[in-house]
């Protein structure tokens, strides 16, 4: 039963024991031979004859020794070490070849490993919570209005939670910042506003203290807070008596009840949250809890064990149907969509990342093709060595094993250097990456990534080693032994394989270059898009007002009036305005509206527009054109009649062939909702969500008639950003020294940051395409150069027979162009297919963009010709006499 274990142990022992065993066996065979000879002599043979017969009877002594050695020790390991040693020697003898091959491979593996580490962290690694596959996000969705994912309101959430039987727990979360004072400089802390079950859903334990109890979420409960370990060790000075003492958030004391470990973070958030407070205590969202309309809470839950997402969906559908008939005004048309949390968090980054992984995989393929080509070339010049080995009795499998060992050693070196490159690459990638990339913090070279790199290098060494090895082992011994160097003796087959490989490289490079070209064009179109305002010399800063101290709209108006007056009085800062939200920086606030005097929106028609509350200077500061009517003035104050201004798209969509000025709209953002506002002007469209999204309808209201508990200041000034920021800081502190100023910076920088994901993927794909181009060019160069070297003789004869130098040049270039053409013919349909895959990453460019295709084809042809021209020139200069003597 376990005989093989005894055998293995015994074999290992013999393998480890000194070489005396060989000697032993030789003695044994000698005595056997002697005995046989003796017997033969006894039978009457003459001694010479007897010895010969004995030898025949025993069999080949060398062969017996070899078999014995194989049976005795661990031949597999032995030959491997032997082969590896030999491979190292061969590689050392060809440092140029080795360096090129290892480096090419290292680049390929390094790039792949780095990208894989990102893909792994973002797409594959399970979420850092217990049983993460039970976690789902629940979105409100409205197909009629084309809203795929939205939050819900607190009353709706309460019903979802109370009525379902599929979730073990359901919780909500939202984020914003609160001002922490009393500990040091006033600072903004990232706050997760949660229902008490938040921690139960994620199944986490606090480092100290407790998580929230259901009572903490009830109205009238004393304010409590859970702080992060980081905040506790940092700003709070690791205060050992922190539990039970209080911290001041937005000028209101909260009792600390728990500390969460530093590595814990709530889902859907990239920055480290620093405090968690119950929803009911939040100065902003707490006041919205009673309203059933609105979509501002992100809901997530943990499925009960054994409940599938489809079962849960069915139950939630039923609940939503009930809610829609019970509260048609708020809930008609709204359903719930359940999405596995991991999928939701990853979002639309998936495609971009997979495209990058595919691209970098292609680069590795090209690298492998290149090394395979190099190996084929070398195998040709080594054919004599191999022929000698075969003649001495090496079997085909033995030769293949030997050659594969060489490539395995190459692969190993490539892998090791590649992993080192990957470490560096990951660091660079993390710094390049858009900060809003989900799960950015999880990216690192860990065991899974290392395993990937090792598998990859093993795969790569077989991929580039097998074909050359098969070819080499099949070579014709006799021909190769006769020919010696085996230069002109390259078989047509092998040459064909090399040409196919080179053409393949061109084709793969074509795919990458087209993809990179399309992304590059998209990106340049995207950044050339006018956002509808002029961002030059625009500086912005955000100030948010603690709600407990500034609790009434009158106070907010007074604050922003005072702030505006003070900042505008500074030299060079006349053009200052207040706006909430700022386009691109803050995203959009989307509100429903009614047109006064017309019937309410019919089913299936959406009356939604983006909303902004701005001060009268806003239009001038942002350089948004006024198309009709007037903009807000200092007279549009809180006590005056309500006015609004709409955008061009708004006018075209909702007032076709009419003059909207003088018409009235009913809309508003709480607490100033539900007011009729007269349209007094029409302004140009602004891309408020992102550069890539076409502007939707927008409506503006004067800040004085719809104030917020904070403000974005925008300043158009020729002063430096620092000077403007310093002036703002100084004026704000003069009004209230406890107000933090955040998100200060140049508007163009913010716009830049808004396209950072696009920039990132464009840059990376461009980098990979460049690598592919260089590799393909060296591939072509290698094939042509070798072909010229092999044909030196032929070229010499041609020249001797009167062929002109230019004819020779043409001949070699024709070969190059044929290769390139073959590559392009294969590459173009592949590139087209690939660019359709990345179709929805494109902006303003068709996936079939002929210009990109033509440009790429031209570049490839030009580079390939150049790569072929260098060896072609060498061919041109062949001295016929030398060439003829060459053989």
């Amino acid at each position: 039963m376990f005989a093989w274990i005894t055998t293995l142990a015994s074999r290992t022992r013999t393998w480890l024991s000194p070489r005396g065993v060989d000697q032993d066996f030789a003695t044994e065979l000698d005595s056997h031979l002697d005995m046989l000879t003796d017997e033969n002599v006894r039978r009457g043979m003459p001694p010479e004859e007897a010895r010969r017969a004995a030898r025949i009877k025993l069999g080949g002594v060398t062969q017996l020794k070899e078999t014995n050695r194989e049976l005795r020790g661990l031949p597999f390991i032995e030959t491997f070490f032997h082969d590896a040693r030999y491979a190292l020697r061969m590689l050392r003898k060809n440092p140029g070849f080795t360096a090129v091959a290892v480096l090419t491979l290292a680049l390929g593996i390094g790039a792949n490993t780095a990208i894989f580490s990102v893909v792994y962290a973002v797409l594959l690694k399970p979420l850092p919570y217990a049983n993460p596959n039970q976690l789902v996000s629940a979105f409100a969705a409205n197909t009629q209005e084309g809203v795929p994912e939205d939050g819900t309101s607190y009353p709706n959430f309460e019903e979802w939670r109370a009525q379902n039987h599929v979730f073990s727990e359901l919780a909500t979360i939202n984020f914003h910042q609160l001002t922490l004072t009393g500990r040091s400089e006033p600072s903004e802390v990232d706050t997760s506003v949660v229902t008490p079950e938040h921690f139960a859903v994620l199944d986490v334990k606090p480092l100290q203290g407790r998580v929230f109890f259901p009572e903490d979420g009830k109205r009238g409960a004393p304010p409590v807070v859970i702080v992060s370990e980081n905040l506790w060790r940092g700003t709070l000075g690791a205060d050992p008596k922190i539990l039970g003492s209080s911290i001041i958030l937005d000028k209101r004391p909260f009792t600390v009840v728990g500390i969460m470990p530093a590595n814990f973070r709530s889902p859907f958030i990239n920055s480290k949250p620093e405090v968690w407070i119950p929803l009911v205590q939040d100065p902003l969202f707490g006041s919205w809890m009673a309203r059933r309309g609105g979509h501002w809470l992100a809901v997530f839950g943990r499925l009960k064990p054994g409940v599938s997402i489809a079962q849960a969906q069915a139950e939630m559908d039923a609940i939503c149907d009930r809610l829609a008939s019970e509260y048609p005004a708020e809930n008609k048309g709204w359903t719930v969509r359940l999405v596995p949390m991991q999928k939701e968090i990853v979002g639309d980054v998936r495609t971009a990342l997979l495209v990058l992984l595919g691209a970098v995989g292609l680069v590795l393929l090209i690298a492998c093709a290149n090394i395979a080509n190099l190996l084929l070339t070398r195998a040709t010049s080594r054919s004599k060595e191999i022929a000698v080995r075969v003649a001495l009795g090496a079997g085909r499998s033995r030769i293949i094993r030997q050659l594969l060992s060489e490539t395995a050693v190459l692969g190993l070196f490539g892998g090791i250097i590649g992993i080192a490159l990957a470490y560096a690459g990951v660091r660079v990638l993390s710094s390049l990456m858009a900060e809003d990339l989900p799960r950015l913090n999880a990216i690192r070279v860990d065991n899974a990534v290392l395993a990937f790199a090792l598998v990859l290098s093993a795969f790569a060494s077989v991929a580039f080693g097998l074909v050359p090895a098969l070819f080499a082992s099949k070579s014709n011994i006799q021909a190769n032994l006769r020919e010696g160097g085996g230069r002109s003796g390259e078989s047509g087959n092998r040459r064909r394989v090399r040409s196919v490989l080179a053409a393949l490289e061109i084709a793969l490079a074509m795919v990458l270059l087209v993809a990179a070209g399309l992304l590059l064009r998209s990106f340049s179109k995207l950044t050339a898009v006018s956002p509808g305002f002029n961002a030059e010399h625009l500086v912005k800063a955000e100030i948010s007002l603690p709600q407990f101290q500034y609790s009434t709209p009158q106070q907010w108006i007074a604050f922003s009036d005072k702030l505006l007056a003070r900042v505008q009085a500074q030299p060079g800062m006349k053009d200052t305005a207040v706006a909430i939200p700022l386009p691109i920086v803050n995203g959009k606030i989307n509100l429903a509206f009614d047109i006064v005097g017309t019937p309410p929106a019919s089913e299936g028609e959406s009356r939604l527009a983006d909303y902004a509350s701005v001060s009268p200077e806003y239009l001038r500061v942002m350089r948004i054109p006024l198309l009709a009517g007037r903009f807000f003035t200092q007279q549009d104050i809180f006590s005056a009649s309500r006015v609004s201004v709409i955008s061009k798209t708004f006018a075209q969509r909702y007032f076709p062939n009419q003059d909207p000025i003088g018409k009235r709209l009913n809309f508003g953002f709480p607490p100033n909702g539900d007011a009729d506002r007269e349209i007094v002007g029409i302004v140009g469209d602004v891309r408020d969500v992102s550069l890539g999204e076409a502007p939707g309808p927008m409506m503006y209201v004067p800040n004085a008639q719809a104030p917020f508990w904070g403000a974005n200041l925008v300043v158009k000034s020729t002063l430096s950003t620092d000077a403007v920021a310093a002036a703002i800081r100084q004026e704000v502190q003069k009004i209230d020294k406890d107000l933090p100023i955040t998100e200060v910076g140049n508007m163009p920088d913010f716009i830049d940051a808004s396209v950072s994901q696009q920039r990132f993927r464009t840059f990376l794909l461009g980098l990979f395409a460049a690598m592919a181009l260089i590799l393909a060019a060296t591939g072509i160069f290698g094939v042509i150069a070798y072909s010229v070297a092999c044909r030196t003789n032929e070229i010499g004869i041609r020249v001797a027979l009167g062929a002109s130098r230019s004819a020779i040049l043409r001949m070699i270039l024709r070969e190059t162009l044929l290769l390139t053409l073959a590559g392009l013919l294969v590459g173009i349909p592949c590139a087209l297919a690939a660019s359709h895959l990345i179709g929805h990453l494109l902006f303003g460019v068709s996936a079939n963009d002929p210009l990109t295709l033509a440009t790429v084809a031209f570049i490839l042809a030009a580079v390939a010709t150049l790569a072929g021209y260098i060896p072609a020139r060498r061919a041109m200069q062949v001295d016929p006499m030398l060439a003829l003597r060459h053989e």
Partner: protein, 114 residues
């Protein structure tokens, strides 16, 4: 376990070596080879070297053990003898062999008649 043809042949040789050592007591390689040839009445002309592969395999499995000694005509030779576990193995193998040969014999007779 699937065994290919050479495995069966190897196994057969191993079995014969074991049986020889069991019957004859310690023997050197030459002695074993000679003995097998004699018993088979020279019908089995083996390449005597192949015996050594068998000896290595059996040694690894600890069914036999080898010791240096002196042969009848004063030559240094390695003498192999069957071990206790080798005897046990031989026993099992013999039963197996008999069973299989009975079955095969039966099948062959059946085929003859049919």
């Amino acid at each position: 376990m699937a065994a290919d043809k050479s495995d069966i042949l190897q196994g057969t040789l191993d079995l014969m070596v074991l049986k020889t050592l069991d019957a004859m007591g310690p023997l050197h390689g030459y002695g074993i080879a000679r003995r097998i040839e004699q018993i088979s009445e020279e019908a089995l002309q083996i390449n005597q070297g192949t015996i050594y592969a068998s000896l290595v395999r059996l040694t690894h499995k600890r069914w036999i053990s080898g010791d240096w000694g002196t042969s009848d005509n004063n030559r240094k030779a390695k003498f192999y003898s069957i071990t206790k576990s080798g005897r046990k193995q031989l026993n099992t193998e013999e039963q197996n062999w008999e069973r299989i040969s009975t079955v095969i014999g039966r099948v062959l007779r059946l085929a003859d008649r049919g």
